[in-house]
């Protein structure tokens, strides 16, 4: 068990050569065993590294490769150059699905961020009850499938309680998931319901880092809650908000489950989000090459958004926690 601490000097080339230098995050190991831990580290890192290379790095490279091929799973991939990308650019359904996805993301992120912020501030300024925090998190325990099914039922045109209430108030029933205009906002709001509590808790974590003294001092000066929110909370929360925003936008772009169980892309492609279209191209029509090309497009869009957000919010200056 004492392999590492008694490591011989022969291990020096593996990182211990500059023994006197202490890098940040590096351990200063006492007792003369200042040799590198190369062999032990290799053992410790091996499973994770295998998983990383096999299921993350390699698939990423392979996905890019497949996007230049015609591939139906049954016969070997055949190199076709930019044909898939050419097709994509001229595919109206692709552009439509990109548009629908963006529409979904804008509604989902807009409503979710504002609501999560409101919930987080209420949890900070009104009460710090762990019970309320727990309640707010409960929808997150549901799968997207369950959340989708429940809301499908609540919003059902004929028997759903949502429409019963709307009808009871004297309005016309709304075909939430069966109507081209309503479907995407509805799906976006269903996912807000499931995720907003989690986002709120992440923001709450950021709020807890703001010293209470600042609020006390502001209160002594006669500042209102509203003013404190804009002058203290928002400026100090900004870095955390930025990180949370980047994460939720990336997650939001990957909407699939809710669409799959509620509308399956319909009506008339109105909810055919990019992921759903990719899935259909691959598993419905066995066009893996084309599906891969669209995945690459999605990756490019996401990377661009991430970089842009990072720049705009200067999120790199701090981190969560």
């Amino acid at each position: 068990m004492t392999i590492a601490s008694s490591s011989p000097p022969s291990r020096l080339p593996l990182g211990g050569a500059e023994g006197a230098r202490t890098e940040p995050g590096t351990d200063r190991v006492p007792g003369g065993s200042n040799g590198g831990d190369g062999r032990l580290a290799a053992v410790f890192i091996a499973p994770a590294l295998v998983g990383f290379v096999v299921f993350l790095l390699w698939p990423t490279l392979r996905g890019i490769y497949l996007s230049f091929t015609r591939f139906n799973l049954l016969t070997p991939a055949e190199w076709v150059g930019l044909a898939n990308y050419d097709r994509m650019i001229h595919d109206p359904i692709f552009w439509e699905s990109l548009k629908v996805t963006v529409e979904y993301v804008v509604i989902n992120i807009g409503v979710q961020t504002v609501s999560a912020l409101a919930i987080a501030v209420l949890l900070q300024r009104l009460t710090q009850s762990p019970l309320l925090r727990g309640i707010v998190l409960t929808p997150y325990l549901m799968s997207n499938v369950v959340a989708g099914l429940v809301w499908l039922w609540i919003l059902d045109n004929q028997l759903g309680i949502g429409n019963e209430i709307i009808a009871g108030l004297g309005f016309d029933r709304i075909p939430f998931l069966a109507d081209e205009t309503w479907a995407i906002p509805t799906i976006a709001l269903i996912n807000v319901w499931r995720h907003v509590g989690y986002t709120a808790l992440l923001l709450f974590a950021g709020l807890m880092a703001i010293p209470n003294d600042m609020y006390e001092a502001a209160k002594v000066d006669g500042a209102s809650e509203w003013r404190m929110f804009w002058r203290i909370t928002m400026p100090l929360l900004r870095p955390v908000l930025a990180v949370v925003l980047i994460m939720t936008v990336i997650g939001s772009f990957q909407v699939f489950d809710t669409v799959a169980v509620t509308t399956a892309g319909g009506p008339a492609n109105a909810t055919n989000v990019l992921q759903f279209y990719i899935y259909q191209s691959a598993f419905g029509r066995f066009q893996f090459g084309y599906a891969s090309a669209m995945s690459v497009a999605l990756l490019v869009v996401l990377s661009a958004i991430t970089v842009l957000q990072y720049r705009l919010t200067r999120a790199g200056q701090t981190d969560l926690g």
């Binding site: 004492t2 392999i3 590492a4 601490s5 593996l14 990182g15 351990d27 190991v29 006492p30 007792g31 065993s33 831990d37 190369g38 580290a41 410790f44 994770a48 590294l49 998983g51 990383f52 299921f55 790095l57 390699w58 698939p59 990423t60 996905g63 497949l66 919930i119 009104l126 762990p130 925090r133 309640i135 707010v136 325990l141 549901m142 799968s143 369950v146 099914l149 499908l152 039922w153 609540i154 059902d156 004929q158 028997l159 309680i161 209430i165 319901w193 509590g197 992440l202 807890m208 955390v240 949370v244 990957q254 489950d257 169980v261 893996f288 891969s292 995945s295 690459v296 999605l298 969560l320």
Partner: protein, 310 residues
């Protein structure tokens, strides 16, 4: 306790949190909070109410707040306990639902993913945080970059790979891609290990413990709180995953609950959706996670609240 509060009354009583005058603002804020709680919890009640009703009753009294014709047949159908004839008579599908099989599949996949992923990620995190080796920072930067690759991107190539490995329609095929690590788990645990004071390790080293022993006997037990939170969240994520299992499983042998639920919904009989059975099924599918959360809620909520885990 009492002594502390009496000796320092000024510091603890600066902001009396107990009774504050109810200003209009506070009333408004509490109303908003109440509305949030209502929107959060009502769907859960509606699942229960629907699951305990009969389909014919639901059609007749759609807005009745209580279960209509209270019955357990929805649950019986969801669990596959009702005969085909009865199920069809109740507005359900005739096809059998092997609920226990799906439940077991979900348990196997989630347990495998959680146990292995956390363990391997913790080992890697330790190597990144506490061991010194050449190329460490470069390898870690690579892992961090992995954090940016959206899961959708790796799904198709991973499917091809799993197919080549002959693991389609196999529980191991569902578990494998997330079994070894996620960049986030490594990142999160590394953060924790970096913050453990060096003295802890030095003391153990002086006692003659090796680094392997230090990891298993000292650091890993110290990390039990973050590890537990991470484990519960990983379990929930894995349990709720739909897209990947949908790709990989084709038959009952590897079908997990989320996929089974979507299929249950798709098996629409001629009369319309079996809402009672479907809501009973969703409740049964969600119950294990609600129980798991109920058990660890306090710890998880405070870990997320104070560290911003993600």
């Amino acid at each position: 306790m009492a002594a502390v509060t009496t000796t320092t009354p000024t510091t603890t009583r600066v902001r009396p949190t107990g009774r504050r005058p109810l200003s209009p603002g506070r009333v408004l804020a509490w109303t908003a909070m109440g509305a949030i709680v209502l929107v959060t919890l009502l769907p859960f009640y509606w699942i229960l109410r629907t699951a305990l009703s009969t389909n014919s009753g639901l059609a007749a009294h759609a807005s009745d707040p209580l279960p209509v014709d209270p019955t357990g047949t929805g649950f019986a159908r969801a669990l596959g306990l009702e005969s085909t004839k009865d199920a069809i008579a109740q507005g359900g599908a005739g096809g059998g639902l092997k609920f226990w099989r799906y439940l077991l599949n979900s348990v196997i996949v989630s347990t495998l993913v959680t146990a292995c992923q956390i363990f391997f990620s913790a080992m890697a995190a330790y190597a990144f945080a506490r061991l010194r080796w050449r190329g460490r920072d470069q390898v870690f930067a690579l892992f961090l970059a992995g954090l940016m690759v959206p899961t959708i991107f790796t799904l198709l190539p991973n499917f091809v790979l799993i197919k080549e490995l002959g693991l389609i329609d196999n529980l191991l095929g569902i578990a494998l891609p997330t079994m070894f690590m996620t960049p986030f788990a490594v990142f999160f645990l590394r953060q924790f290990f970096m913050n453990v004071p060096h003295e802890v390790e030095e003391a153990a080293l002086l006692d003659g413990a090796g680094k392997v022993r230090i990891f298993f006997r000292v650091l890993l037990p110290m990390a039990s709180a973050p590890v537990l939170t991470l484990a519960v969240l990983t379990y929930i994520t894995s349990w709720n995953d739909y897209f990947w299992p949908l790709m990989v499983s084709y038959s009952d042998s590897s079908r997990v609950l989320t996929v089974a639920l979507a299929i249950f919904r798709a098996q629409t009989p001629q009369t319309g959706v079996d809402w009672s059975g479907l809501m009973a099924a969703t409740l049964i599918a969600a119950l294990p996670m609600l129980a798991l959360f109920g058990f660890f809620a306090r710890r998880i909520v405070s870990t997320i609240s104070f560290t911003g885990i993600k």
